[in-house]
């Protein structure tokens, strides 16, 4: 089982590598620092360079990302930091480039032994690992951490870890969660056994994300919030104030056990300060007062960064897509022709411009992003046909609207109220008006919008949103976003925002999930076909695949980009 999964990731990696070479080149040409370009292509880990050790790495962000608890926080902002703080049994390889999608043993000494038809995973723990509070890591900590996922109502408790035996009871009454028969430790043999109710080809990925981090068994059984939990990795949090600063210092008990799973870090201290405007973040990095900014630089600074600071800007494509959801259960988009019309009409190159230009985003026409397992180039909605999107077909769109008889109907567009989202929303509103709809735009605070558009009670017809992968598997886009099970009418948590529920597609997805257990390549082919068949129904309008720009200070070196968790913070050096 585990072997096949690793092969799966590897197979995906080769496909992806071929597809993203063009996209990656922009990053490489941009960075004059030789370590950057070489590190993102070399596989494997480079030896530690002690001459660069030390100093304080200064990071800035507009806002903190909430709770510091690795089993609760579900933001890329802190998942990025957890790479060099917390460890699970398995982890994603801490390297740049495509290799970063590979799962490797971390607190486990080796990849698990998989038996019982893919339902039983047996891990042997590494010896001599100590938490930052000085206590040794034991099998009890591992068992308690899995229970804790449910006790703290981790965001993914019911979606990633519900396949563990005993999870159903834990979801119902978290306080008394034992995962009896699900997760058991054997202290003498130093092993942990996990039993699943059904085989799950994606389980190793789920063990490698921060929610499955191992924390001490006496950790509070509620969200630890701003009180940092002891870590196993090279850094630990010394203090955290979400309005001011997060301070990471070296974990005095850390000894490097596996360079690819958890390499030791270069800076002695990492200061992450919050609260500045994004404009002043850019200025701070330009002046060397900060080493890296979390937020995407604002539109009016991009040109300056791209011309005056070429060696300090690193651009990398993300496995994510921005898309517009069309509510298939209410007028006018309960009409397939009307939905297809929008897909034909949207000028992706205009959206790319609004996002920051061709080097920061590329037009999208499929659900699975390029370079992602299962992605196949195909585009039903481009002018003149073709495998990729080239131009919008406004004439065809207008004809389809006419044919559908939906012209003149009111359409509300709901977007987040930040600059980029709002400007794309304004473009969509203007476009729908052109198509003959009475389009209105409703920009909402980012905090409301995402739950607002999910709840069917709010009768949202068209919403702008995005999806960033949790782990590199096609089901993380298709099954999560388009299955009937992901549609919960009347609930704030209904990620199938279009309300697309098709029995045939659901059955195909179940088959693909099964196939993945034995033959990942065949499964990915199936996922590619599912992507195309969903797109024919047009429940969403894929707009762009974004790229991320990391703007770093002059002194920052050894920039490496993990496709899974982004810039490897602990691996950068400032000396």
């Amino acid at each position: 089982m585990s072997r096949s999964t690793r092969r799966g990731a590897f197979a995906a990696a080769t496909v992806a590598l071929a597809l993203t070479t063009a996209a990656c080149s922009s990053s490489d040409s941009g960075s004059s620092d030789p370590t950057t370009s070489s590190s993102s292509t070399t596989a494997g880990s480079v030896a530690f360079q002690p001459q660069h050790k030390g100093g304080t790495l200064k990071l800035v962000a507009h806002a903190a990302a909430g709770s510091l608890d690795p089993q609760v926080n579900y933001t890329l902002q802190y998942w990025q930091l957890y790479q060099s703080m917390y460890d699970g049994l398995l982890s994603f390889k801490k390297v740049g480039g495509q290799e970063s999608f590979t799962v490797v043993p971390d607190l486990a000494a080796a990849m698990p032994k998989v038996t019982n038809g893919g339902k039983t995973y047996t891990f042997t723990l590494r010896k001599g690992i100590t938490f930052s509070n000085g206590k040794a890591l034991t099998t009890d900590d591992v068992v308690a951490s899995f229970q804790r996922i449910f006790k703290v109502s981790s965001p993914t408790a019911g979606t990633f870890y519900n396949g563990i035996v005993g999870a159903t009871a834990c979801l119902k009454t978290p306080a008394s969660c034992t995962l009896k028969g699900g997760v058991t430790g054997d202290a003498t043999a130093n092993t942990v056994t996990i039993n699943l109710t059904a085989p799950d080809s994606e389980f190793p990925y789920k063990l490698a994300v921060p929610h499955a981090s191992i924390v001490p068994k006496d950790s509070p059984t509620k969200d630890a919030g701003t009180k940092p939990l002891p870590t196993t990795g090279p850094y630990m949090a010394a203090s955290y104030d979400p309005n001011r600063e997060l301070k990471l210092v070296r974990n005095p008990h850390f000894k490097e056990w596996s360079r690819e799973a958890e390499p030791q870090g270069y800076p002695d201290q990492i200061d992450y300060t919050f609260g500045q405007t994004v404009e002043s973040e850019v200025t701070a990095v330009e002046n060397g007062e900060a080493d890296w900014m979390f937020d995407p630089p604002p539109a009016d600074r991009l040109n300056e960064i791209g011309t005056k600071y070429t060696s300090q800007a690193h651009v990398n494509p993300l496995t994510a897509f921005w898309y517009a959801t069309l509510n298939v259960n209410s007028a006018p988009f309960n009409n397939k022709l009307a939905r297809q019309a929008i897909n034909y009409a949207v000028d992706r190159s205009a959206v790319v411009r609004l996002y920051g230009g061709t080097n920061l985003a590329s037009p999208a026409c499929t659900i699975l992003p390029p370079g992602f397992p299962g992605h196949v180039d195909s585009c039903d909605y481009t002018k003149g046909g073709g495998k990729t999107w080239t131009a919008a077909d406004l004439a065809k769109a207008k004809a389809l609207v006419k044919k559908s008889g939906t012209a003149g109907q009111a359409v509300g567009i709901v977007v987040q109220d930040d600059d980029v989202n709002k400007s794309i929303g304004q473009y969509l509103q203007s476009l729908l008006t052109q198509l003959g709809y009475k389009a209105t735009l409703k920009p909402l605070s980012a905090n409301i919008q995402f739950t607002y558009i999910q709840n069917t009670k709010n009768k949202v017809q068209l919403a702008l949103t995005s999806w960033y992968q949790d782990y590199p598997a096609a089901s993380d886009f298709l099954n999560v976003l388009f299955s009937c099970a992901a549609f919960h009418p009347g609930s704030d948590s209904s990620i199938n925002i279009s309300g697309f529920c098709d029995k045939g597609t659901d059955a195909k997805m179940q088959t693909a999930l099964k196939t993945a257990q034995t033959d990942p390549t065949a499964a990915n082919k199936q996922w590619g076909a599912i992507d195309q068949s969903i797109m024919q129904q047009s429940p969403v309008v894929p707009l762009i695949n974004p790229k991320i720009i990391d703007f770093t200070s002059k002194r920052l070196g050894n920039y490496q980009f993990s496709k899974q968790f982004y810039m490897l913070v602990g691996q950068t050096w400032v000396k």
């Binding site: 991009l302 791209g306 920051g356």
Partner: protein, 345 residues
């Protein structure tokens, strides 16, 4: 003047026999106040310009300022150039809209991030800002007068209840109350029985701004009415059994109305500033409508490359509110020198 007298000759003759009333003296005072006159001229020009917005957009600039032109092109210095130019040097990051061309026919003040003509949007935005400022001010003053007079005249429980409500609004920090209300109303619109206001409607900011400033008007007026009510001639009128409505209309209103009117221009200025601040926090006017505040907010994303988009609407707000304040001071000096709006926001 001649035309007026033919329309209402009786009125004119009646007026002529009386000594000049307080309104006429005030009018004469105002006409002699040079700064107030200058302010009125400035205001008139601003209003005139915004009224010409469609004329400018359709016949001079030939553009629809509410339509995105992300992939459009225009003419500058006789050459065809894209409205939004993607950067082509270095890493090629970012897209820059065309800057001011100083050519009224082609993007006089440049374009915003949607490729829309900033000049045309300024004119249309001015209509929205002035509309919101003026209607909100009228509404506040009307509402404030009614509330203040009722509370001051009725006294007792009515006064106590109204005063406490006013205290609550007063103690609620202005922007916090406005933002709180906006967040709710912008999400769901306003539903008050048969009255429904859509979430994107301009009447929402009007209603919100009018509501939060009511105590600014009602409190001083209530105080005035309280003093009036104890005056002998009103006590006498009450004692003689005159109907309340008549006392209010004949004796109370004429006394408080000058104060209420004094507040209108000052309140308009305050309402315009508040509207722009709410729009800046993106809880004011909603797209596709534009106001000077929303143009500033759109422009902040371009501050470092195209500062004109931010600076121009800000200057217009400053000019208009300054004119309103000067005019308001003039009206105050003429009508009711003691009247004072709570200073500062």
């Amino acid at each position: 003047m001649g035309q007026v007298s033919t329309a209402a000759p009786e009125l004119a003759t009646v007026e002529a026999r009386r000594p000049p009333g307080p309104w006429r003296t005030a009018g004469a005072d105002l006409l002699h106040n040079r700064s107030a006159l200058a302010a009125a001229v400035v205001l008139f020009l601003v209003v005139l310009a915004t009224l010409c917005a469609p004329l400018y957009a359709h016949h001079v600039a030939h553009t629809d300022p509410f339509q995105s032109h992300v992939s459009g092109s225009t003419v500058a210095d006789g050459k065809t150039v894209p409205v939004l130019t993607p950067s082509s040097t270095g890493l090629g990051l970012g897209v820059t809209p065309i800057g001011p061309t100083w050519d009224p026919a082609h993007y006089f003040l440049g374009a915003d991030n949607q490729g829309r003509d900033v000049m045309a949007r300024l004119l249309y935005g001015g209509r929205t800002s002035l509309f919101i400022g003026f209607t909100a001010a009228l509404l506040t003053c009307a509402l404030g007068t009614v509330v203040g007079v009722v509370a001051g005249y009725a006294g007792g429980v009515v006064d106590a209840v109204i005063s406490r409500v006013l205290d609550v609004i007063w103690a609620f920090p202005v922007y916090l109350l406005a933002i709180c209300l906006s967040v709710v109303l912008l999400t769901d619109g306003l539903h008050l029985g048969p009255l429904t206001v859509e979430a994107g409607s301009l009447w929402l900011p009007v209603a919100i701004i009018a509501a939060i400033y009511v105590p600014y008007i009602a409190r001083p007026l209530r105080g005035q009415v309280l003093v009036l009510r104890n005056k002998e001639y009103i006590q006498a009128a009450i004692g003689s059994g005159a109907p309340t409505v008549r006392i209010l209309r004949r004796e109370v209103l004429p006394n408080v109305l000058p104060t209420a009117i004094v507040f209108v221009p000052l309140m308009t200025a305050l309402a315009m500033l508040t509207e722009s601040a709410l729009s800046f926090l993106s809880v004011g006017v909603q797209p596709p409508d534009a106001s000077w505040g929303t143009i500033i907010e759109d422009g902040l994303g371009l501050l470092y490359t195209r500062p004109a988009v931010t600076i121009a609407p800000g200057l217009l707000i400053a000019l208009t509110t300054a004119a309103l304040n000067v005019l308001g001071d003039g009206v105050r000096d003429a009508l009711d020198p003691g009247a004072r709006l709570r200073g500062g926001v």
